[in-house]
C-alpha cells in the first residue's frame, strides 16, 4: 500500500517534470526540471530498496553532471539560444526514435502480461525487505561476475578523460 503510494508519487513527479523539461523555453528552467526528474527517479530506486543506486544517482547525475550542465548553460549566451528555433531539424528523426521507444515499451508490457506479471520469473522471488544490502550486492556483482565489462567501461571513461585533457591542452 505505502509502497505503491510512494511509487506513484515519485513516478508522477518524474514524468510530469520530464514533460515540463522538454517544453520549457528557458534552458535553466529545463535544467531544474531535469534535476527534479532525476531526483524522483532516485526516489523510485529507494522505494525498490536499491539505496546504493539511489545515492549514486544523486551523487553522479544530480550532484555531478547537472552542476556541470547548469555551469555550461550559464556560460553560453542564453539570449541567442532563446531566439533560435530549437530542435526543428530533428523532427522526423525524433518521431522515428519516439515510435521505436514506445514500440519497445509496448512490447515489454505485452510480454510481461503474457508471463503472468513477471518478465523474468524467479528474479522477483526475494521479498524486498530481505534482499542483501544493496551496496554490497552491487560491489560483488561489479567486481566478481562482471569484472571485465566493468574494467572495459572504466578504461573507456579514462580514454575519454585523457582525450578531453589533450584537446584542452592543444587549445591553450
Amino acid at each position: 500500500m505505502l509502497d505503491s503510494v510512494i511509487f506513484y508519487f515519485f513516478a508522477s513527479i518524474a514524468v510530469g517534470s520530464a514533460a515540463l523539461m522538454v517544453t520549457r523555453r528557458n534552458a535553466v528552467h529545463s535544467a531544474i526540471f531535469l534535476i527534479t526528474t532525476l531526483l524522483a527517479t532516485a526516489g523510485i530506486f529507494l522505494q525498490l530498496r536499491a539505496e546504493f543506486l539511489f545515492i549514486v544517482q544523486i551523487i553522479l547525475y544530480v550532484g555531478g553532471i547537472m552542476v556541470l550542465f547548469i555551469f555550461v548553460i550559464m556560460l553560453v549566451n542564453l539570449d541567442v539560444a532563446l531566439h533560435q528555433i530549437k530542435f526543428a531539424r530533428q523532427k522526423w528523426v525524433a518521431l522515428i526514435v519516439a515510435l521505436a521507444l514506445s514500440a519497445q515499451v509496448g512490447l515489454m508490457f505485452w510480454s510481461s502480461g503474457k508471463g503472468g506479471g513477471q518478465i523474468w520469473p524467479g528474479r522477483n522471488a526475494a521479498p524486498a525487505n530481505r534482499l542483501p544490502p544493496n551496496a554490497e550486492a552491487v560491489a560483488k556483482s561489479l567486481f566478481d561476475a562482471y569484472l571485465l565489462p566493468f574494467e572495459i567501461a572504466s578504461v573507456l571513461l579514462l580514454v575519454a578523460m585523457i582525450g578531453a585533457v589533450v584537446m584542452a591542452k592543444k587549445r591553450a
Binding site: 500500500m1 528557458n26 534535476i35 550532484g63 555531478g64 552542476v67 544490502p133
Partner: protein, 465 residues
Amino acid sequence: MQAAIQATIDFLKLYWAPLVCGVVIVAVLPLIVGYVVLVERKLMADMQARLGPMRVGPHGLLQPIADAVKLLIKEDIIPEDADKLVFWLAPVFSVGAALLAIGGLAFGPAFQIGVNLNIGLLFVVGISALGIFGIVLGGWASNSHYSLMGALRSAAQLVSYETAAGMALVSGLLLAGTLNIKSIVEAQASAGVWFGFLAPVAFFTYLVASIAETNRAPFDLPEAESELVAGYMTEFSGFRWSLYFLAEYTNMIVVASVATTLFLGGWLRPFAGTHWFTLKGLNGLDLLDLLPPLLILAVAAYCILRVPRQPTRVQQVFMLVVAGLCFVVALVLVGPVLLSALKPAMAEAVKPFYAGIHGGFWFIFKVSAYIYFFMWLRFTIPRYRFDQLMRLGWHFLIPLSIINVLLVGLSLIVGSYYHLQGWALLLATTPAAILGLVAALIILGIEQKNRARQEAVAVPDFYAG
C-alpha cells in the same frame, strides 16, 4: 478510508521517533547556528584584541536572537528582473539539502534519524552536495553580474574539491569496511584507534577540501566581499539571506560531523576499546569517563570565579545561572559513571544512558573542536586568489588524495598479511602516511616548476574577477 487511517497509524508507529527528531532538528538548528555565529564573532574579536558583541544581553549572549528578529522583519526584496520562481526556490533548496543531510548523521549511539542507513556516509555526503544548486541557481536568478560570478565560482570550486574530499573519504572507508555510520564508529571502537591516526593524510585532505566545500575562508571566493560584494548572496535580503546563512553553517556542522565520524572516532571517548591498565577486571582507561564532568565543572568554577568581576547585578546573576546549568550538566554526565561503578547491579540498566549521554558529549565536543579549527583558520590565513584555489585543488589535493587511497590500500594489505590489528596497524599505516607526505612534497615540487613555466606565458583568467 478505514484502511488509509490504519496505514497512517502503522506508519506513525514505525516512524514516530525519526519524525520527532526531524522536527526537533529543524526547530533547534537555527538557534544552534545563531550561537555558532556568535562564537565565531567573539572568537574573531578575541583574536583581533576586541570585545565583539557586548550590548545585547550579558556579553552579547542574546545577540543571535536579536539578529534573527532583525532578519525576519526586514523587507523581502526581489529584484525587478530576477527570475522570481528560481529566486524563491534557490535558498530553500540549499537549506533543504543541508537539513536532509543532517538526517543521515548519528550524534550518539542512540540518536540517529536515518537509523542504520546502509549507505549512511554516502547519503550525507551526496545530499549535502546538492546544496550547490541553491547557490548556483540563486546566483543566476538574481540577474546580477556579481551574483552570477559568485555562483560560477562556487560551482567550479565545489566540483573541484568534491573529488579530493571523496577520495579522502574512500581512504577512511577502506579502513572502516562499511558505509553505515554506526558501523564505522563501531569499527573504530573495535580497532581501538581512530582512523584519523591510521590515515592522517586522508584526514588532512578532507580537512582542506571540507573548508573549500563549505565556502569558508580562506576559500570563500564565491562571496569574496572585496571582489564580488557578497557573491551569490548579493541580491538576497532578510529571510532569504538568512536561509543561505543557515545552509552554510548547517553544512559546516555536516562536514564537521562527517570528519568526526570517520576520522575522529565519532561518539567514542579517547582510547575507547583499549584495555591497557586493567586492574581486577576494571579498565583503568575508564577513568577517562570522568573527564567530561570535570571539564564542565571547570567551566562552572570559572563562571563563579568571574562573578565578582562583573560590572552589573544582572550580569552577576547571569554568571551564577550559567554556573548552575553547568553543575546540572556535570551531574547528568557523572551520574551514570558513579552509579555503574558503585552499584554493579545497576550497571546494566544504566548502560544505554551512560553510552548515550557520554557519546553525545564527545560527539558535540569533537564537532565543536573541528568548527573551532575552521574559525581559527578563517582569522589566520588570508583569502586565496581564484586561480590559486583551483591550482591547489587540481594540482595538489586531488593527486595527493588519489595516491593516498593507493597507499592506504597497500598498507591494509600489508597489515592483513602480518595480522596487524588495532594500534599495531599503525606499523603498516605510518610508513604509508610518510610515503604520502613524500608524495605531497614531490607534487609540490613539480607544481612549483610548472608554475614558473606557466607564469612566463600567463593567460588572463576571467573567472578570477
